[in-house]
Structures are given as structure tokens and as C-alpha cells.
């Protein structure tokens, strides 16, 4: 899996959670999406961990500045045994 493939899979999750369609790009971040508040964020993270089968470590999700960095984090955690 590469970053683009992760973003494509994220797109499907975002489409479920958000009512208004959002087109994900590596540069997009929460502040660009009106519906992406702290409430939907919790929902998104639970869905991402479940769908990708990963578990983020404490505090690291908030360090990701945009979707590109978030996708990289998912890849990093997926490569763990």
C-alpha cells in the first residue's frame, strides 16, 4: 500500500461520515472541512482504526498536520508486525 492507496481508502470512510462530499488530497486538513469538528474527529478515528486494523499510539494523531501526513502515519503503523 502506498500513500495514494491509503488516501483512496480514507476517502470511502470520509464519505460515510460526512454528509457533504469532501475530495481528499494530501494537503487537505481539518480546518478546510466545515463538518470536521472534534466530534466527527472521534468518529473518524474509531472508523479508521477499525477499517485499517491499526492502533495509533497516544498523542500521535494530533501531530499529523494534513491528510498526507495522516496517511503516512497509517502506513507506518500498518507496517508494524
Amino acid at each position: 500500500m502506498n500513500q495514494a492507496e491509503v488516501i483512496a481508502k480514507l476517502q470511502a470512510i470520509f464519505d460515510t461520515v460526512f454528509l457533504e462530499p469532501v475530495v481528499l488530497t494530501p494537503a487537505i486538513s481539518a480546518k478546510d472541512v466545515p463538518e470536521w469538528d472534534s466530534l466527527t474527529h472521534i468518529s473518524l478515528m474509531v472508523a479508521v482504526e477499525k477499517d485499517f486494523g491499526v492502533r495509533f499510539r497516544v498523542g500521535e494523531v494530533e501531530n499529523a498536520k494534513n491528510i498526507g501526513e495522516f496517511a503516512d502515519l497509517i502506513l507506518k503503523r500498518k507496517q508494524e508486525p
Binding site: L19, S38, L39, T40, I42, S43, V46, F56, G59
Partner: protein, 622 residues
């Protein structure tokens, strides 16, 4: 969970959105799913989508505690709203609950909540000394923890009159301390167990325990916790348990004002025993300790008998020949349930929907207090379609799961078990005997005379409050105003000098009917306004109505009133008392869609004669 169709409904502003949201919410167990549903609900409100409970008045609900209450409050709001009870929320600050409760000036009190939900901090429920300290010292600290919580609840209740819900504490799920864990009250394991027990056993009637220990245990200790979510956002527990906690809180809020079901209607073949009695014969049915399947059916009967013990009425509805259907009850040695455990027995070839419909007037109960249990999907379906008021339970394929299905149905949970609940089957059965007597006595007056009725009329007293609130919240038919009141609200009436409140108990030679009528009046000037007048339909036309009026007049006159003012507020269920005040000699003074107002001048009132001997009257020394 597929939310695609739901989103389509929302985007096209279709009010069918709400019904689908409700059904998806009912089945959602996953945190992310429930959360998504909640955010769709909020979006629907933002779009002003019509169709959701326009008339329901929001309940003022405050939530505070030692955790971040977001998003828990969101889930509770969602579940409660879709259960027909929208909430107006007030949320405390993170870990500020003690000062929010202690400080009379806090926003909590400005909000004037009707229900307050407290989640006390787990980290304050721990023994601060050594594991090896004397047990007395450890116990004293545990007791102080309990007392502090009870005191917080008492303060909230005293300052607001609100019902209070508090969580207790989850137990640790790690092996820490090993076997020593249960040998010292100083371990979190033992300390919290002790606190939880004492808290529950000593909770006053306005305090309801949201049993977090139980919920975590049910889910599994390891699955209940999520340390990361504590460090990141001060979440109280794992997201999986958060869903269960929210469901329990919503359930407790609903239970404050909604009565449990009253009647359990049972199928026979493959429900109470294995096999078909008409085909297999008395000896051929599977029941009892000789086979595993027979044991499972017997265990199910034992569980049903325990529901009866709690006050649930049992009835049978079976497609069968009556004599064949009754034979196991009379002759099978392994039957737990006997014919006299049942208040109705319908075994015939009519549709079950019609049989159940016929039971309601016989027992003087509304159809919505019935639950029907059957192993046959076709029978469940016919009842669902033709008597939709009845709640149905379709038993699964394995009789060893039957008990679990009923035990998890959440329809028969008592708020507080009163001695009268256990007596109820006897009361309903002696009703049948009384009706038999009525058939043998020719005129009504001599029938009533022969009943040797005695009555005690009492002002509201603290020991009656749970029973009073129970009756106020479940009585539908003979209820002039259907004004519901929680235990705290009943207590408030008891202490307000402008109000009178009394209850009536009735006995006759067949048994004790218990507390069967409640009246609340408010003195406004020289008028006694009848705020609440309700009565159990089991004692209709026995003279209780007349005695209640006599008592009302007496109390009103003693307080300087010159008239009684009564109001009838129609509901789908109280048609029977639409003209009640007229029958009692009141004059109709005003009428609208929503109410009919009546008045009765007291100067010319003559006490009405009855056949009831009044042993004691309200507000008089006994």
C-alpha cells in the same frame, strides 16, 4: 452499517428519515455507527427536517463528573431523543463536579435541572494508605467515600428537587496484586466493590445507580478500558463501553417516567415445554430434569415464576384445545407453573391477536402493558400487525437461550419492588372470584354490602412515596389529568402547605387491594383545584370514587375553600373519565380541545353514602 439510504432521505428532506434513524439507532452497537447516526440527527435538525416529536417537551438534563463528558452527552442526547424524550442538556466542566454541586451560585443550579447525572471520578475512589493497614482504617475510608457521594446526591436533590443518577465504579482488570487483591480492602478491587455495594444499598429513593461496574463486567474488564483515550481526551472508558453507558443512562431517564410492562403472555408448545402436547401427549413433551432440552424448558419456567414473584402477571395464549392445553399444568410432575399462577388462559383456535385483545378489558389493563412471547414467527407477526401496542418477543431456536432473552429484554425492571407487586396476582385472581359472587347476588347494593369493604385514607407519607410515584406514572385509564410525577416531585407536594395529597387503600373479604387511589389538590384562593385524581380500575364502582369526593370536600372545607375545581385532560386512554366530574355532580364551566373544566360548590354538598367503612381519614391522628 449502511447509512447510504438514510443520507439520501436527509438530503431530499424526507421525514421518513426519522423512522429509519430510529430503527438504525435501536440496533447500533458500534460506537462509530451510533456517533454517525447522532451527527446525522443534528444535521437533520440544522436543516429543519420536519417530523420528529414536534410536541415533546425537552427534559432538562445535567451531566457532570470527573471525566470529559463529551461525547458521552451526545450519545445520551441522541438515544433519549429517539426514544421520544428530547433532552435539554447542561454539561459540567471537566472534573469540576464537586464545586458545581457545592456552590449554590453555580450554573448547574441556574439551569434548574430535572435530572442530574453524576460520574464521580474513579481516581478519588481509592485507598490512600497501605495495603496492610488495619481493615477498620480501610473500611472507614471506604465509608467516607460512600458518604461523600451520598452527600453530593443529597445536596443536588435538596437544591433542585431533581432525580439524581450516579455511576458507581469500574473494577480494575489487570492482574496487579495477584491473589492478594481480594485479601485487603486497600486494593482498588476490594475497595471499589465495597463502595459500590454500600452506595447501592444506601441510596435514597431519589438516587438511581447507573451500574458501571455491572456494565463493564458484562462487556469484559479489558474491553471496558482505554488508557489512551484517558490520556488524550480524558474519556471515562473505552468507546465500546461508552455506548453501553449512554444506553443505560437513557434507559434510567426513561424509567423515571415510564412504567414497566405488567403482563407476560406465553405460548405453550415449544415455549413452556418441548414438543406439541396435543400430538405428543402428556408423557411425550420434553420438560424436566430427564433430558437437557427438558431441563432448559424447566429453567425457563422457573425464570418466569420469578417474574411473577416480582409482580408480573402471567397469562397463556395458545392455539390448542383448552383441556389438552391445561392438562400439563394439572398433571405433569415437572411443571413449575400452575394454573393458579395465571391470570388468563386462552387456548382455542382464534387468532392470538384477538385473544390478547380480549384479555385487556378482562384484566382492566391497556394493551401496551402486554408482552407476548412465542417461538413461532408467524404468531409473532400476526400480533405485531393486529395489536401493535403489544410488545413481542420471538424466542430463538435454542431453548437454553430463552431465559437470557427474557432477562435482557428490559421490559420488566422494577424501579423499586414494593410488597404490593408480589401481591398482585392474588389481587387479580380474587377479582375473578368477586365477579363470580356478583353473579350470585341480585342487586348491586347488597353485593357491595357483602364485600365488607374497609378503607384507610392517608395523607402522603414518606414510606408511601415509591408506591405513589409508581401509580402516578403508570395509571392511564382512570386518570383525570395524567399528570406524571417522579418520587422527588411527590415529596415536593408532600412538603408544600398549599397542596393536599392523599391516597386510599381498600380491603374486602377476598383480600387487600393495596393503594388504589391518589388525589392531589392545590389551594388557590378559595378554590381547591384537583391537580390529580386517579384510581385503579380494578375497584371501579365500588364506592371509592364517592368516598374520595367526600374526603376531598372535607379537606377543602377544613382549609377554608368554597368550591372544588376539577379538570379533565383527554389522552388516548382516559376516555372512561371524560364525564366523570359530571357524574359526580360537578358543573361543566369551560370546554376546549385539550381540557374540560368543572366546578362543585361546597356549601350545598351532601356526603355521598357508600358501603365502605372508613377506618382512618387523611391528616388526622391514627
Amino acid at each position: 452499517m449502511d447509512t447510504g439510504p438514510l443520507k439520501t432521505l436527509l438530503l431530499s428532506n424526507d421525514p421518513a428519515f426519522w423512522a429509519q434513524l430510529k430503527s438504525l439507532t435501536k440496533s447500533a452497537r458500534d460506537f462509530a455507527d451510533l456517533f454517525l447516526l447522532s451527527s446525522l440527527r443534528k444535521k437533520a435538525h440544522a436543516r429543519n427536517l420536519a417530523g420528529q416529536n414536534p410536541s415533546a417537551k425537552p427534559l432538562r438534563f445535567a451531566i457532570l463528573g470527573g471525566y470529559s463528558l463529551y461525547p458521552l452527552h451526545e450519545l445520551i442526547e441522541h438515544l433519549s431523543e429517539l426514544d421520544g424524550r428530547p433532552l435539554e442538556l447542561w454539561q459540567g466542566d471537566y472534573d469540576n463536579y464537586i464545586s458545581e454541586i457545592m456552590d449554590d451560585e453555580s450554573e448547574l443550579y441556574a439551569f434548574a435541572p430535572e435530572v442530574v447525572f453524576i460520574l464521580p471520578a474513579e481516581r478519588r475512589c481509592t485507598y490512600t494508605g497501605q495495603l496492610t493497614d488495619p481493615r477498620a482504617a480501610q473500611q472507614a475510608e471506604a465509608q467516607r467515600t460512600v458518604d461523600a457521594l451520598l452527600d453530593l446526591a443529597r445536596q443536588v436533590n435538596a437544591k433542585t428537587g431533581a432525580e439524581v443518577i450516579t455511576t458507581n465504579f469500574m473494577l480494575p482488570a489487570r492482574h496487579d496484586l495477584g491473589a492478594f487483591r481480594s485479601r485487603s480492602l486497600g486494593s482498588d478491587w476490594s475497595f471499589r466493590k465495597w463502595v459500590n455495594l454500600e452506595l447501592g444499598l444506601n441510596a435514597p429513593s431519589y438516587l438511581h445507580i447507573c451500574d458501571w461496574e455491572f456494565l463493564a463486567n458484562r462487556l469484559g474488564g479489558l474491553a471496558a478500558r482505554d488508557e489512551r483515550s484517558w490520556f488524550e481526551s480524558k474519556q471515562p472508558c473505552s468507546s465500546a463501553l461508552l455506548v453501553e453507558l449512554a444506553r443505560e443512562a437513557a434507559q434510567l431517564v426513561a424509567a423515571l417516567k415510564r412504567a414497566p410492562k405488567k403482563v407476560l403472555v406465553l405460548d405453550l408448545d415449544n415455549t413452556l415445554w418441548g414438543g406439541v402436547v396435543a400430538d405428543d401427549g402428556l408423557e411425550g413433551i420434553e420438560l424436566g430434569d430427564t433430558s437437557p432440552r427438558g431441563e432448559a424448558f424447566k429453567a425457563f419456567q422457573k425464570y418466569i415464576a420469578s417474574l411473577k414473584q416480582r409482580g408480573v402477571l402471567l397469562a397463556v395464549c395458545s392455539k390448542n384445545d383448552l383441556a389438552r392445553a391445561q392438562e400439563p399444568f394439572q398433571k405433569h410432575p415437572e411443571m413449575v407453573l400452575k394454573l393458579d399462577d395465571l391470570v388468563a388462559f386462552k387456548a382455542n383456535w382464534e387468532p392470538k391477536s384477538e385473544n390478547i385483545r380480549a384479555m385487556a378489558p378482562e384484566l382492566n389493563l391497556g394493551l401496551d402493558s402486554f408482552v407476548f412471547v412465542d417461538d413461532n414467527p408467524a404468531e409473532i407477526e400476526i400480533v405485531r400487525q393486529f395489536v401493535p401496542e403489544v410488545t413481542t418477543i420471538l424466542l430463538g431456536p435454542d431453548p437454553s437461550d430463552y431465559v437470557a432473552q427474557l432477562a435482557d429484554c428490559r421490559l420488566f425492571e422494577p424501579r423499586s419492588i414494593t410488597a404490593e407487586d408480589a401481591e398482585r396476582t392474588r389481587q387479580y385472581r380474587s377479582d375473578a372470584q368477586r365477579q363470580a359472587l356478583a353473579a350470585t347476588v341480585t342487586d348491586m347494593a347488597s353485593y357491595l354490602e357483602s364485600l365488607s369493604m374497609e378503607s384507610i385514607i392517608s395523607e402522603f407519607v414518606p414510606v408511601d412515596v415509591p408506591r405513589l410515584s409508581q401509580l402516578i406514572n403508570k395509571s392511564n385509564q382512570f386518570n383525570l389529568t395524567t399528570h406524571r410525577r417522579s418520587e422527588a416531585e411527590v415529596s415536593a407536594v408532600m412538603h408544600d402547605p398549599n397542596f393536599i395529597g392523599f391516597s386510599v387503600r381498600l380491603t374486602d373479604r377476598f383480600g387487600d387491594h393495596g393503594l388504589i387511589s391518589i388525589v392531589i389538590g392545590e389551594k388557590v384562593g378559595e378554590s381547591m383545584q384537583i391537580d390529580t385524581w386517579l384510581m385503579s380500575c380494578r375497584v371501579l364502582k365500588r364506592g371509592v370514587e364517592e368516598e374520595v369526593l367526600n374526603e376531598l370536600v372535607r379537606l377543602a372545607q377544613a382549609r377554608g375553600c368554597t368550591q372544588l375545581a376539577g379538570v379533565y385532560r383527554p389522552t388516548p386512554k382516559n376516555e372512561m373519565v371524560r364525564d366523570f366530574y359530571g357524574r359526580m355532580g360537578f358543573t361543566l364551566t369551560a370546554e376546549s380541545e385539550t381540557q374540560r373544566e368543572f366546578a362543585l360548590p361546597l356549601a350545598t354538598f351532601q356526603p355521598m353514602p357508600t358501603k365502605i367503612k372508613i377506618i382512618r381519614r387523611a391528616y388526622e391522628p391514627s
